[in-house]
């Protein structure tokens, strides 16, 4: 396809475009189901059995079971949908965000308090390690 996708060169970032959306359709629709209290209970009672009711790939299911959000995103997940898993687990959004960065939640929270991750060095793939924080750069 000849569509311009200029966003492919940004480090640590997956743009949820039509291609990702197609890939992640059932993963995201599974997440959506967790907006109902009944479904959250059924999921918590037996995660594997609940997941097996959805036509998801094994990779998507493993991503969910291991709570590896980066793996889920690579498999087509979108963060606003994936956030329903965190809500089901009673985790904050900041916990989920930290889990994707390789930092502890404390390190991540400290980085945010110090002004967040700098854009410097984080604009283009290869420019500099994508996971560096302000602190580390300072």
């Amino acid at each position: 396809m000849a569509l311009d996708k200029p966003y492919k060169d940004i480090p640590g970032t997956t743009i949820f475009d039509a291609e990702q959306s197609r890939k992640g359709y059932w993963l995201n629709q599974f997440c959506m189901s967790l907006m109902k209290a009944d479904n959250r209970e059924r999921f918590k009672a037996d995660e594997r059995a609940y997941l097996d009711q959805w036509p998801m790939t094994e990779e998507q299911k493993q991503g969910v079971l291991t709570r590896d959000l980066n793996r889920c995103i690579a498999a087509g997940g979108n963060i606003y949908f994936l956030a329903k898993i965190g809500a089901t687990d009673g985790k904050s959004f900041q916990y989920m965000a930290a889990s994707m960065t390789g930092m502890t939640q404390e390190q991540y929270a400290a980085m945010m308090l110090a002004g967040g991750r700098s854009a410097e060095g984080n604009r283009y793939i290869g420019e500099k390690a994508a996971t560096q924080s302000n602190k580390e750069q300072a």
Binding site: F16, N28, F81, A97, Y108, M112, G115, G116, N122, R123
Partner: protein, 284 residues
């Protein structure tokens, strides 16, 4: 004749709603943020509109992947706060303005914007957090609200240029409504933030403020900023800022009127994962 008197711009971070709902607004973490909205609440008391046209985005709440409207206008009589996974926020039900909403829909579709009309929709933090920030915690919201949901979740999202043009069409639509109504238009979302992947936590204070300067002074130029700049400079979720251009496009100066007055401007980092921006512009 209905008239757009002012525009309000604000981030709509869900953690702000949670802090309010859980009574944490005077915690040291949150106190500086809520302080930044004190002047806004006073201004709102002095300048209360009849109707707020509230531009926001749904965060996989009312719209799943089954159906994704680029622009959806809420024409219902009321909109319930959504259960986003922790039960609905304890805030009042939002009262709509069906007559003005369908008038705007009619006018703007004839103006070649391909809206989706919605008569049943729950509204998530994208809409309710700005309401809480501007009105506090009343028993009932003191204004009617027309929810206007923009797709900024699945690409392609509408361009800044398209949003800015839409704002202009909304202004024409409001001004052709016969009833005397004081209408505000709000743009919400942003500022810089990224909620996903190894780059999560990105904040770009310099870019945010330069973008704000330009949006105030030269919105036409600001509307030309390409998507990729938002993502690269303000994080993948920073793209929400295009919604501010809808509100800005509806201001009088864009149609040749006088420049608006900046009544309040505030910027704060962080609210959870996000930079918070806030602005009030009054028409003259």
């Amino acid at each position: 004749m209905a008239k757009i008197t002012a525009s309000v711009y604000t981030s709509h971070v869900p953690a702000i709603g949670a802090a309010l709902d859980l009574g944490k607004s005077s915690d040291p973490y949150w106190q500086p943020l809520f302080k930044g909205y004190e002047p806004s609440k006073q201004w709102m008391k002095d300048n209360r509109p009849d109707v707020v046209f509230l531009v926001y985005n749904d965060h996989a709440t009312a719209f799943s992947l089954e159906l994704i409207p680029t622009f959806a206008i809420g024409c219902a009589a009321e909109f319930k706060p959504a259960d986003e996974g922790w039960g609905p926020r304890p805030v009042p039900v939002v009262q709509g303005h069906p007559e003005l909403a369908s008038h705007i829909a009619h006018s703007v579709i004839q103006d070649e914007f391909d809206l989706t009309i919605v008569n049943k929709m729950d509204v998530d933090h994208g809409l309710t957090v700005p309401m809480s920030l501007m009105f506090g915690q009343p028993e009932a919201w003191p204004v009617k609200v027309i929810p206007f949901a923009v797709n900024v979740v699945q690409y392609p999202v509408p361009s800044g240029k398209r949003c800015f043009a839409l704002g202009q069409a909304i202004r024409r639509a409001v001004e052709s409504f016969d009833e005397d109504l004081n209408v505000q238009i709000w743009g919400t979302g942003g500022m810089s933030h990224q909620l996903q992947g190894a780059r999560a936590g990105l904040i770009n204070r310099e870019w945010d403020n330069a973008w704000l300067d330009q949006m105030i002074a030269d919105p036409q130029a600001c509307s030309q900023v390409p998507h990729i700049d938002y993502v690269r400079e303000a994080g993948s979720e920073g793209i929400e800022l295009v919604m501010w251009l809808i509100a800005r496009g509806a201001m009088a100066d864009v149609a040749g009127g006088p420049k608006p007055t900046v009544k309040h401007r505030f910027y704060h980092v962080p609210a959870s994962n996000t930079a918070v921006g806030h602005l009030i512009l009054e028409n003259n």
